[in-house]
Amino acid sequence: MAKSLQRFANPARFMALSGAVLPWAAAATALTLSVGLYLALVASPPDYQQGETVRMMYVHVPSAWLASAGYASMALACAVGLIWRHPLAFASAKAMAPLGAAFTFLALVTGSLWGKPMWGAYWVWDARLTSVLVLFFIYLGYIALWEVIEDFGRAARATSVFCLAGAVNLPVIRFSVDWWNTLHQPASVARLDGPAIHSSILTPLLVMALGFTLLLLVLTLFRTRTEIMERRAASLEMQQAQAGMTVRAQNG
């Protein structure tokens, strides 16, 4: 398995493949999000209990899913990087972090806007909200660590260790609404006996979720390419600095 992964892990090959895939993936993302938005804002009915506020679910829930799923992907990439020492894994984790942090931010803000009409409060300190807020800080810590450590190799491995340490927060988020009596509603989609939502509401939700997931994947791929190019630029700069020093040394 590692052997076949290695074929895609070569940076030059990755650049070629991702360059070919990206335009199609971006088009698919735009299409899915457009359809999703139409379903969410126009073609779906208001909920009989929550009224029009249910439309906020179509941006809040996908953001929240991606906040956790993004972090889980990052943690996986970090583990792969630490075990197989491949820079592409570290680059993709670094690329995804600001995106995951942005989705966490959106989950918190849209959740807050939804919470006011639903529960009467913009914020409560229940288990689900608190653990998502903690996830946001963990994202920020991961990004900050990349910024302050100058050597790429050390930064890559240090941030990966931190990412894995922070990953213990993920089960807490997922199960917090089951373990504690929280204000936030329990899981109603990803359950063992199937979703508990009617299809007229489930469909826009799933389409929006798919659209945002594609967006995350497209942007991560794109930013990983940028990261690889940054590494190339840095090594070119290093080469030129060394060449400059050699010329100066020769000229005496």
Binding site: T130, V134, F137, I138, L140, G141, Y142, A144, L145, V148, I149, E150, R154, R157, A158, V161, F162, L164, A165, G166, N169, V172
Partner: protein, 217 residues
């Protein structure tokens, strides 16, 4: 085993000589606790309700401030490289340093607690559970803090990033610690706090050792 204990004693002695020993941390702790009534007002019933939480936060902040010294001095004079080559496993060395850190930084705070508790008008019955919660929970602060310190050793503005990465990981200790400190001795929060400390005892030395190898290579 004696290598372990000699490392603990070395760190305790060093902490005593450098940076004023336990008194600076203690002074900071007392000042932070004193700030709270200035900020929230001198309403005594309010203060005694938030007392355990305030004291826990102050202990947490005092611990945080002492963390970047955990490996910094050894990093600067090259002892850290020697430690990584020593026959004593790095994980055990981390444990030794955490123990020394806990003894020199946190235990003085716990000892001073009865004297400081009156600043927040702490009810007399609460002091017992609070002290127990601190004894049970603060080792996790040293252990998790060691991971953060190991990741940021020798980094510019490392102290700031250290706080940013360690505080989210401290949240369970604070939530359960403050709850345990205001409740009964064998209640759920205390048990969760104990579980959290034990888990960090099991995991943090390995993570911190890995981080040290990364930082020093």
């Amino acid at each position: 085993m004696s290598a372990f204990w000699s490392l603990v004693m070395r760190d305790i002695k060093l902490a005593g000589r450098l940076g004023g020993g336990p008194f600076v941390g203690l002074g900071f702790f007392i000042i932070v606790v004193t700030m709270v009534p200035f900020g929230v007002g001198a309403d005594l019933p309010l203060l005694s309700r938030i007392g355990p939480g305030v004291l826990w936060v102050a202990v947490l902040l005092a611990t945080l401030l002492s963390l970047d010294r955990l490996f910094q001095a050894d990093f600067e004079d090259g002892s850290l490289d020697l430690f990584l080559m020593s026959p004593l496993p790095v994980e055990m060395q981390v444990l030794a340093k955490c123990l020394a850190h806990w003894i020199t930084n946190t235990v003085p705070l716990i000892i001073a607690m009865p004297a400081v508790a009156f600043l927040v008008n702490l009810e007399t019955g609460i002091l017992g559970p609070l002290l127990v919660s601190l004894l049970v929970g603060t080792p996790s602060l040293s252990l998790i803090g060691a991971l953060g310190a190991a990741l940021t050793v020798g980094v510019r503005r490392g102290g700031l990033v250290l706080s940013l990465i360690v505080l989210p990981l401290y949240v369970p200790a604070l939530i359960f610690g403050a709850a345990a400190g205001s409740g009964d001795l064998m209640g759920t929060p205390m048990l969760f706090l104990g579980a959290f400390s034990l888990a960090s005892l099991a995991l943090a030395p390995f993570a911190a050792a890995a981080a040290l190898r990364i930082s020093v290579s």
